[in-house]
């Protein structure tokens, strides 16, 4: 997957987990949870969806690396590059 595809995949996952949130104005460099309503259960679902859809395992100690959209893309790129 390219960076752009990964970015789109993350947006798709978030929009399904919190369908009522408007993601159009999300700043990719800002912490996601500061911009939209996303509790710890929702956050866990992002991690679980990444595993379910793309077999990408994110260990708990790496959760901080999923803070912003851009940091997600950077972190996931090596894990998803062969997909």
């Amino acid at each position: 997957m390219t960076k752009e595809e990964i970015r789109e995949a993350i947006y798709n996952i978030i929009s399904e987990i919190v369908p009522d949130e408007d993601l159009n104005n999300l700043d990719d460099n800002e912490t996601i949870r500061d911009q939209i309503e996303l509790d710890s259960m929702d956050f866990l679902d992002i991690v679980l969806e990444l595993r379910k859809r793309y077999k990408a395992n994110v260990p708990e100690e790496d959760y901080p690396k999923l803070a912003t959209i851009n940091s997600c893309v950077e972190y996931l790129e090596p894990k998803l590059k062969d997909l």
Partner: protein, 449 residues
């Protein structure tokens, strides 16, 4: 229910899950049964935690999101209004918190500001903290530090205890907050079809996620090897190997399955059990003059919530008129349910014939009591069913017929055995929505890796 909710989460995220259920029907404490051509809910009066669609941060909203269900799936219909009746004073409340606020201002004018401060304190309190070391203290003490009229303290404790407390005469404050939010700040609702609707929605989802469900499959023993669970021996002798167990059988009950010797007077066994009498009427309670959804009554200024010395304690109780919810179409029958505290050991010690006699005696006494609280309805009764603590023990497996399980909740779900976890009532989230959230939280915390 906590077990099915946990199962849905795990199966959805591709874990291999098998739910074993002793009975031929799922649902546990909150299941349903067929009798005399009708379907009765076992225990459900109302679902607490009702909020309108889309209400952020609410347990119901979280639950639906976690189980990938739609708001409409449960078909929840709101209550009309309910009340807490003590001698000389009663407080009405509904799913609009303003009504309770107004009632308290009218009937306890000196407590108006105290109650507002207390309300703020409740809103700021994190009752879902899973840290077992955080101790918020006991409810009577905390509530009394805000509210100086002891009668109001008792009146608030009455419904919250009845609908979820496993502790005698007090509650842990975090449990009080869960109940306060779920009943007073959120509210009561029922599906038109009763609890069957919710169980069927859960089972359908679980099957869609390809989870396996084995009914009529009781667990006989949890097998431990090198301090870890390795398998479960079923009542039919089969052995299921497993990496992890989430048990919704209750904490003490689970530990007994895992080989611990539990004596009947073990302090961890809950003491609170109930009798329930269900009246089927040939007309609606509203036509007979009773328009309340649920009435909590208590005979004196002090509310006693404990295992009674007598076989049944009629000095307090809960009366539920199942028809008095905002259903789209009216229920076929009029239904009134009455709940009172009861003594498990005394019921359990009766011989079969005497058991039936006592049921008849206490059903009549309960009816007499009810008629001092709600208008006459006995000429309209077409059918009566009653269950006792013994029935609760038989169908839930809870020692002592303890409806709300152990008074010592295990908030993080951990047991001394490292891959054996508990969920449901004994984990400590209360009510139907709470029990499902408990299953979800414990599955997320302990079984997703």
């Amino acid at each position: 229910m906590s077990g099915i909710a946990a199962g849905i989460r795990l199966a959805y995220y591709d874990k291999k899950v098998c739910i074993i259920e002793k009975h031929y029907r799922a649902g546990g404490l909150n299941s349903y049964y067929n009798l005399n051509g009708r379907i009765f809910d076992c225990g459900l009066h109302a679902i607490t935690n009702f909020v309108p669609k889309g209400q952020k941060k609410a347990p119901l909203t979280k639950l639906l999101k976690q189980l990938k269900l739609k708001y409409e799936d449960f078909g929840l219909c709101e209550q009309k209004s309910s009340s807490i009746n003590f001698p000389e004073v009663s407080l009405r409340f509904s799913n609009n918190f303003e009504l309770l606020n107004q009632e308290i201002s009218d009937k306890f004018p000196s407590q108006k500001e105290n109650f507002q401060r207390f309300h703020k304190h409740i809103l700021q309190f994190d009752e879902l903290d899973l840290n077992p070391n955080s101790s918020p203290g006991l409810a009577r003490k905390v509530v009394s530090s805000f509210i100086s009229d002891p009668l109001l303290v008792e009146m608030l404790l009455c419904p919250l205890s009845y609908y979820g407390s496993a502790k005698e005469n007090d509650m842990d404050f975090d449990q009080f907050v869960i109940m306060f939010k779920s009943i007073f700040l959120e509210g009561f609702a029922r599906p038109e079809e009763g609890v069957k609707k919710i169980i069927n929605v859960l089972l359908k989802k679980y099957r869609e996620c390809e989870g396996e469900l084995r009914l009529k499959t009781g667990a006989k023993r949890i097998n431990i090897s090198n301090g870890k669970v390795c398998s479960v021996t079923l009542e039919n002798g089969d052995i299921l190997e497993t990496k992890k167990i989430l048990s919704s059988a209750g904490y003490v009950e689970t530990m007994e399955l895992a080989g611990e010797k539990i004596s009947p007077d073990d302090g961890r066994i809950g003491k609170l059990s109930f009798v329930e009498i269900i009246y089927v009427l040939d007309q609606t309670p509203a036509k007979l003059g009773c328009d309340k959804s649920i009435i909590f009554y208590n005979d004196s200024e002090k509310f006693t919530y404990q295992k009674p010395d007598e076989i049944v304690d009629l000095s307090s109780g809960v009366i539920c008129c199942s028809n008095n919810f905002c259903f789209d179409s009216p229920l076929k029958d009029g239904i009134i349910r009455a709940t009172h505290m009861a003594n498990f050991d005394l019921w359990d010690g009766l011989k079969q014939e005497e058991y039936q006699t006592q049921k008849n005696i206490w059903q009549k006494k309960s009816l007499e009591k009810l008629l001092t609280i709600i208008p006459e309805f006995s000429p309209s009764i077409v059918f009566i069913d009653m269950f006792t603590p013994k029935t609760i023990k038989r169908f839930t497996g809870h020692f002592g017929g303890a409806v709300y399980g152990t008074p010592y909740k295990i908030k993080n779900g951990q047991t001394p055995i490292k891959n054996l976890f508990i969920c449901g009532t004994d984990q400590g989230f209360l009510g139907i929505i709470g029990s499902m959230l408990s299953g979800i939280s414990m599955a997320n915390l302990h079984a997703m890796n």
